[in-house]
Symmetry: T
Subunit: 145 residues, 12 copies
Amino acid sequence: MRILVLHGPNLNLLGEREPDVYGSMTLAAIDAALKAEGEKLGAEVKSVQSNHEGGLIDALHGAPGWADGVVLNPGGYTHTSVALRDAIKAIGLPVVEVHLSNIHAREEFRHRSITAGACVGVIGGFGWRSYLLGMRALVEMIHDE
Amino acid sequence: MRILVLHGPNLNLLGEREPDVYGSMTLAAIDAALKAEGEKLGAEVKSVQSNHEGGLIDALHGAPGWADGVVLNPGGYTHTSVALRDAIKAIGLPVVEVHLSNIHAREEFRHRSITAGACVGVIGGFGWRSYLLGMRALVEMIHDE
Amino acid sequence: MRILVLHGPNLNLLGEREPDVYGSMTLAAIDAALKAEGEKLGAEVKSVQSNHEGGLIDALHGAPGWADGVVLNPGGYTHTSVALRDAIKAIGLPVVEVHLSNIHAREEFRHRSITAGACVGVIGGFGWRSYLLGMRALVEMIHDE
Amino acid sequence: MRILVLHGPNLNLLGEREPDVYGSMTLAAIDAALKAEGEKLGAEVKSVQSNHEGGLIDALHGAPGWADGVVLNPGGYTHTSVALRDAIKAIGLPVVEVHLSNIHAREEFRHRSITAGACVGVIGGFGWRSYLLGMRALVEMIHDE
Amino acid sequence: MRILVLHGPNLNLLGEREPDVYGSMTLAAIDAALKAEGEKLGAEVKSVQSNHEGGLIDALHGAPGWADGVVLNPGGYTHTSVALRDAIKAIGLPVVEVHLSNIHAREEFRHRSITAGACVGVIGGFGWRSYLLGMRALVEMIHDE
Amino acid sequence: MRILVLHGPNLNLLGEREPDVYGSMTLAAIDAALKAEGEKLGAEVKSVQSNHEGGLIDALHGAPGWADGVVLNPGGYTHTSVALRDAIKAIGLPVVEVHLSNIHAREEFRHRSITAGACVGVIGGFGWRSYLLGMRALVEMIHDE
Amino acid sequence: MRILVLHGPNLNLLGEREPDVYGSMTLAAIDAALKAEGEKLGAEVKSVQSNHEGGLIDALHGAPGWADGVVLNPGGYTHTSVALRDAIKAIGLPVVEVHLSNIHAREEFRHRSITAGACVGVIGGFGWRSYLLGMRALVEMIHDE
Amino acid sequence: MRILVLHGPNLNLLGEREPDVYGSMTLAAIDAALKAEGEKLGAEVKSVQSNHEGGLIDALHGAPGWADGVVLNPGGYTHTSVALRDAIKAIGLPVVEVHLSNIHAREEFRHRSITAGACVGVIGGFGWRSYLLGMRALVEMIHDE
Amino acid sequence: MRILVLHGPNLNLLGEREPDVYGSMTLAAIDAALKAEGEKLGAEVKSVQSNHEGGLIDALHGAPGWADGVVLNPGGYTHTSVALRDAIKAIGLPVVEVHLSNIHAREEFRHRSITAGACVGVIGGFGWRSYLLGMRALVEMIHDE
Amino acid sequence: MRILVLHGPNLNLLGEREPDVYGSMTLAAIDAALKAEGEKLGAEVKSVQSNHEGGLIDALHGAPGWADGVVLNPGGYTHTSVALRDAIKAIGLPVVEVHLSNIHAREEFRHRSITAGACVGVIGGFGWRSYLLGMRALVEMIHDE
Amino acid sequence: MRILVLHGPNLNLLGEREPDVYGSMTLAAIDAALKAEGEKLGAEVKSVQSNHEGGLIDALHGAPGWADGVVLNPGGYTHTSVALRDAIKAIGLPVVEVHLSNIHAREEFRHRSITAGACVGVIGGFGWRSYLLGMRALVEMIHDE
Amino acid sequence: MRILVLHGPNLNLLGEREPDVYGSMTLAAIDAALKAEGEKLGAEVKSVQSNHEGGLIDALHGAPGWADGVVLNPGGYTHTSVALRDAIKAIGLPVVEVHLSNIHAREEFRHRSITAGACVGVIGGFGWRSYLLGMRALVEMIHDE
């Protein structure tokens, strides 16, 4: 099984950026933890980060053929991007949306997710563990099908 | 470690009620799976179900002293109950909100969660596995503290 | 045929409470009239009243197995209860929503019904006769199936 | 007693138009059933259909003097016509609003009724039987006065 | 100078309809008063009433060539008719909107006028005198041009 | 009979300020025209202008005892002042609201009048003649009582 | 193949009415151009204009049996008419909505189309050519079926 | 004179729950203070707490016959419960709404009170003293009648 | 201890203005009652009334140095004045907002208070006694600090 | 004449992506059809696709100098991109907006187009033919100038 | 060149009022700094402060004849005053709006400026330096004309 | 000191694009003026332009380490980009938002800035001088720290 992990805008700054909100673990460390966990679950993991809405769409388009599913943290595009939502719908792979922080406990404009409606599920609020939980949920779901 | 699992309104009908939306597993089966998973994680698990908003509040109030954390599926109260949100805030325990279905992919009035803002995190869309993921997330979070 | 009549919050006060809005007939008298009408229509009628949102949900859950359909006056929960709406959907029985007063001619916040979307139909504005009309509609609908 | 039955826009197509939503009975058949029911109830029934908002208003204006009450299905004008609402108020006769389908279970823009606030009551969701129920409700109400 | 007076829906009922809101003077009496006032102002007056949105549009379309200006009471169409607004814009004559009642002191949905934005001015709240004031305003405005 | 004419904020600049919107006649000239018209109608006229919301309220409070009615142009306070609305209600005199421009044909935020709901009627869009029309309407209304 | 072209309110004034917005070509000239184009496409074309919402509904109801499709410019009813939308749905023919002007570049209240949701497609902003394009689109679509 | 004090959801946790928001005094201590103050005012005081919306409605229904008035803290139900509002209206006793915190200085969703519109008055922001002030206000109001 | 009582717009008319809404007691009588009550509580009381938003702000600015707290009835400015809210925040004294009527039981636009968010608490609905209760609440709060 | 055809996000997946919504024709096939049609119309056609909002803006910026007009399908950016709208305005070329599906018949958030207000016209709902119709409309419009 | 600096409500308290939000510099010190800067720029500077909406309007009205431009901090009136906006428009002088704090980073109700739409530009968030920047911007703009 | 100047979408067209709105100065000329001004202020200035939301985010991410502050014109992304707002927050440098035009005097959808809440201040409406003022504000602010 192969899983694409897709990190949205500003996530490359993890560990430096507002650590009280997003935690102190770097993106590289998260990716390493995901790879390790993937091995346990029998899944090959590839991670991509982009600050570009179009870059994320390109990456999603590239997923079918290689990946069996996607773990996606759309960052700030969560609340604004219809194009990203369309891309998720378009590729026909299961996508799990994850967030480091609990978006419902932050500013009003973060309470609504446009992209989530096209995903199979959403996990948020558990820091870097949201990724681990999202990957596990995805792998189990794919096994079931 | 002890975990209270709290099931909200209509979840007692699981397996019978709209299986295309909520799956065909009964609540008893979910509770058994949670107990088994709890054992693996070194956690004692107790499950309570109530159709009453006040019953869920009472159960939350009873949690401190016994439980170290709560896995809560507020059902339809998710979108309407300020009183339940206040109860979550009041008890001072970590609470993880879980949903069987992906609320963002359903009717407009289900896209907003009033209770989630008082929880540590939210997991939804993975059927009965949302509970398993929620319990795991909770146990790991408590271990870290 | 068996019909459950379910009275929501404050309806136990009928006859005393704001008679200019809700009429001067007591709930007991309405229930007697419904029983009598039921006999004419060949239907056994059972009436339950609860001020508790959860109590109404419990009663709805208990309906399948005994009742062939439900006449429901959700009272003030009409405008606020997603949990009650979910219960109506969940039980798989035809439910007719009735109101004593015409909710469209009252305060703005009574113009919207959350529960009606899960019912087969709505009858309101005819005082206690709304119940009679609702029961008749329900009985004929069940006969047709 | 004399009852005017007033059918709004597109109801002349009944039986042909979207039978899954509106049923397969024609308007002529409904009118015949209403006449027959009227005889049982001791009421003379006259039916008028118009696709014109102004035609419905004209018909309402013509009702006093002949009719003792009106059964009105405003169709699509339900959700948009202040002029029709004013006409209902103006004629000083009891008017019962009926709908074939349950407007609360359809598109968002059908959930609000502008005309209902001027009527004595509303019945909807029971197909062509909504008319029968509406006529019966009206006749009983007029008898009571 | 020639003035068209255009009465919208339900105004044919004036004197009978809700006299506490609209006064007890009939439409014929108002038209006579307008004719008399017109004579004093050197203006020929013609009055038309229609309950049909399209009838009012037709009448407006017929105005250029005969009339120098229009006094229009759009009744309930005031709050809903874009087509009527377009007609006012289209004919290139000055149109004065009048209302018997003060729309700002009534239901919320009467506070907004869609048609007024295409008129030269609005007069409301003075009962049948709103027409007289509107005609006078119109005549003086035309004299000035 | 005595009429108070009350000019709101920025009306002291009339004739200078945006003449394409408000006309080229000065406030002094309008007041002179109102005095002259008042004489014809048998009414003594006093004019007051203030840029202060509180100044307008003070002037309204001073009206009873001297004036029989008030012609009020609330200017920009039309759309924002609950306190002015309360003052109109409080003094128990008939108040007619006038506007130079047609507020419905300008910016969205000018389409709503908070003060009009407490007045007997509204006249707007006729430039300085709105005042003349308002005074005439007021005088006739007072004569009728 | 036979195509009904249906012109809504105020379109009879084309060429006279606000030529900067709607162009200087008359409705007769447009109808002639449509007939000519129809001949090229092998389609018989019939044109009807009505200022009446109900008249447009009547015309739509008359279309099946004669026409294979409809080109409809609903004019001002575009933004307000649920009844017209219902009529489009009811007749079971493909309907193409056309607009002379680009409704998205005009007043806010013209940005939303209620009728478009029931049509197969929408074309607007190309002046009288919107009709030609609409007819061509319709003819090709019908050929494909 | 007899006064019922009714405490809504989560108030049983007073003293433990978020003391920076709600103060450190327990509910038992507040009830004792209210009893003592009642004695000074010549009023017998009974206190009831419930986390159930229906429980509060039941308690309100039981008040007439025993109590002369009610001091009610609806807690989180303040912002969501139409049923509770209806109960307040139904019992025909004066009810004073009290809040420990100043709801206007907290989250946006706490700024609106649905229940207050059915009460005689509201007091909030003074911690446990809000209850004392509410009881005093109630007693004086009853004395006046 | 010294208390400033600040009366907002239209309160100078108390006793004359809409006595069914605001009661029949004059402002002078209220001020006398407040002085008397102040003496009992050991507080010197000074009362100021202004119809000017700026006048109320000036009075608030003058409070520190003399007063220990303020009882403020912002009248109609309650619902519109950000500047007054800022002044309350700026002076660093405890301010209690009071209302004669229950603003939640009146027009929709009175349900929201802009100023209350900057006050320590709010009391409304008890007629002139709202002032007495507000003063008492303020004095006790200051004693506690 | 030269026409730039600009395809927005996800359109590279045409033929694979949700064929029931978007049709089964690939983007390459559409581009070929457009080239062929362009030849008939005497227009050279160049096609560009980008998933990047900025990429579409770059392409629009590059159009003047080469192209005489643009056919643009903004995809999901239709509903969210002010920057794209600004680019359309900035380049001073006629731009025609096209959509494969009828956006008015889909989710609520697709009913509003931000970009259309800066275009000359909009065509949607005709599948790949929307492009053909858009190119034809554009070519004729440029010929006319 | 002569510049009027106009300070709105509560700015007289600068240095005392919430120094963490507004800084610790007094208004007198700011005025002195502005005078000094004015001298460098060859501009005579006069400063006026008022807590009265009407006072600010009066001061703006007095500006033409003396001043060449105005630097205005409308304080809390920024978000509520249509009358002030009208005054800015009326005087025909360039007005620059300045704010000490960044209004976009504060409460939701401060994000909208009603007055800014009538100004030439806005500067905010730089503490007392916002005034210096505003004056410089104004002087350079006037020089350019 | 080093300052990064970041130009958003469409600003590369400056001088060509709608000169009546944005002025006739090119971006190169603005950058030259900023460099010159920077030299006077002792600051090295680097300018970057991108039409890509992600490109602007990338550029912001690259700023720390080199720049001491950023002058940012987010163009159309001002009103839509949560991702850009997050980037501003993330980099921990002071960012000043500038606009050529006065966004408050343009279309409704430009009145709200999403990015401004994360900046230290905003300057808009002064054409290319907004940049100069922004750089000066930034340099002085950095000097103060």
